[in-house]
């Protein structure tokens, strides 16, 4: 019977061409949108590698204060913040804080078995020793920054596991190794878990924390990340900005919470996937209506054929099965064409997305279209099954 349906659909290829094209295009679009969706969803589900619930960010700007005086003021501010009830910890960091839309990349050079290789981009985060506590970072190997790093000849770094895997192979030994490029060199003292400062929709990327001394003056005014007691609110915020203003009258501070920043970033990141999703939904509705319409039309055009088949011994169920079978055959051909296109994505490694995302998206897109075709064929197939053979045969 399947062969019969395939033959029939082949013979009707002119009439079915449009339907086929529609399914083909729908599949390709669904596949692409599905890949984007899955990519984002996978990332969303992956651990961020840090806690943000009770973390605030303060952006400091020394304003018109002469540079030599800035360091002393910053130290006063830091001391005051640390002493404030409700503040659990204060860390200094660079501007690429979590959910900040800001990135800072370098490249690293490595040599494996005599072959030179460049790893890039590598996110670089400047961090004072307190950052680990404030953000609740996970340590995989070695240690986090401490007093020993103040006197180190080479700046100490903690690299994340993605960078370790890139440089030293999956799970390789990194602690104690030197890393760098032609300008700079660092000493690896520890390995952290992944750190997705890019937010929940970002892919885990190689990154490294570079030790910033508490005494550091070069980056005097930058970003602070504060761990606060759970439940802290506007009152604490007001006090903190008042304290900063009294320590340095020219200083401008801007306090935000990481949960707020996360929301903002998530919303921005979701615009494209949601938009694509909506477009996709409309596309599906359109394709569904198209399928439904064509099937309906086909049935009224092919009443004679249905009558003949009934006369030759087809049951009512057989007729509805045929209607469903036909559309599934067409869907299968459309999907087969679509798969030829879709398969190029993982084969060519488009966007460096893991191939399993593409394969899952193919399955999802195919499943959706099969389901859609089935749903659209349900009513027309029942309609066809209800056709009385004598009536249908007389009409021709």
């Amino acid at each position: 019977m399947i062969r019969h349906l395939i033959t029939l659909m082949w013979n009707r290829r002119r009439a079915n061409g449009l339907l086929l094209a529609e399914i083909f295009l729908a599949f390709v679009v669904l596949f692409i949108v599905g890949s984007v969706g899955l990519y984002n969803y996978r990332n969303y589900r992956a651990p961020l590698g840090f806690g943000y619930e009770n973390v605030w960010q303060i952006n400091l700007d020394a304003g018109t204060q002469p540079r030599p005086e800035q360091y002393a003021t910053l130290q006063t501010i830091l001391r005051q913040l640390r002493a404030t009830p409700g503040v659990v910890g204060v860390a200094r960091t660079s501007s690429n804080t979590p959910f900040s839309f800001s990135t800072n990349n370098i490249y690293l050079e490595t040599e494996q078995n005599g072959v030179k290789r460049t790893v890039e981009p590598v996110n670089i985060y400047y961090a004072s020793p307190e950052l680990s506590g404030v953000m609740g970072l996970e340590l995989r190997a070695g240690r986090w920054f401490d007093r020993r790093d103040e006197a180190a000849t080479r700046p100490s770094v903690v690299i994340n596991e993605q960078l370790r895997d890139e440089l030293f192979g999956p799970g390789g030994l990194a602690v104690g190794k030197r890393i760098g490029n032609k300008d700079r060199e660092w000493q690896v003292v520890g390995v952290s878990g992944s750190y997705r400062a890019g937010g929940e929709l970002s892919e885990p990327q190689p990154g490294m924390f570079v030790h910033v001394s508490s005494e550091d003056t070069s980056r005097a005014a930058s970003r602070l990340l504060l761990a606060v007691k759970p439940g802290s609110g506007a009152e604490l915020e007001k006090k903190l900005s008042a304290d900063i203003r009294s320590a340095g009258p020219t200083w401008i501070s801007n306090i935000t919470t990481l949960p707020d920043q996360r929301q903002t970033q998530l919303k921005a990141g979701l615009v494209l996937p949601v938009l694509l999703g909506v477009v996709c939904l409309f596309l599906l509705i359109n394709v569904g209506l198209g399928l439904f319409g064509v099937l309906w039309l086909n049935i009224s055009r092919r009443r004679g054929e249905i009558g003949v088949r009934r006369a030759m011994g087809a049951t009512a169920g057989g007729i509805s099965g045929q209607v469903l079978g036909e559309i599934l055959v067409i869907t299968t051909f459309g999907l087969a064409l679509g798969l030829l296109v879709a398969v190029q994505f993982p084969l060519l490694g488009v966007q460096n997305v893991r191939p399993d995302i593409y394969f899952t998206a193919m399955l999802l897109a195919a499943g959706t279209l099969y389901l859609l075709a089935t749903v659209c064929a349900l009513y027309p197939s029942r309609l066809a099954a209800g056709i009385q053979p004598a009536v249908a045969l007389r009409e021709e």
Binding site: L8, A311, G313, Q388
Partner: protein
Amino acid sequence: MTNLFASATDSPQPAAAPVAGPGRAVLQLTGIEKVYQTRTIETVALNHVNLTIHQGEFVSVMGPSGCGKSTLLSIMGLLDEPTSGTLELDGRPVQSYSDKELARLRNHKIGFVFQSYHLINDLSVLDNVELPLLYRAGVGGKERRQRAYAALEKVGLGARTGHFPSQLSGGQRQRVAIARALAGEPEIILADEPTGNLDSVMGEEIMDLLLTLNREQGTTIVMVTHDEQQALKTQRLIRFFDGSQVS
């Protein structure tokens, strides 16, 4: 392949000489009435028809246009339901059959040749002829093909199997429709003017084919015809006028 028509063409069959007397009743119509109700008028296509078709009989039905011959055939072929009256197939009232059983009966027992052929335009000649076997469980693709071929050979269309109905003449289409009815080797053939579109030579050949089938395989045949000559070759002639049997 032996020529099935050879003996029949030169010596017409005696009108009533069944090989083994009238068998049991395969089709029994009792008080069959068919009324078509349209908005303006009511047409009585069949008016209290009582008729028995015995196994192995070759019956011809004649009557003026519009007297209800096609309607009669489609009721006997289980394609239409009578407005009132009972139709018994093999002694069992048809109303008692389920849709599935009816489909099975149409498939196994009955071969229908429609007045207007009703070939499926999207299928090749061969695929059209295979159709009854397609709906029969246990018949494989190869056997289907072979039997369809054989049926097409019988109607002289062995060379046209790959054609589509639109590429055939009216007469050729009619022969495909006949081959399709033969392919399933049914017990009963209901043929609605099977030679209506054939020239006299071809008409003769088809007629002889049906006669041979009736004689050699005991196929019960009910044939609507406008050709007195053909009707005379069958065992029984039923005349219809205005929905009623007149002889």
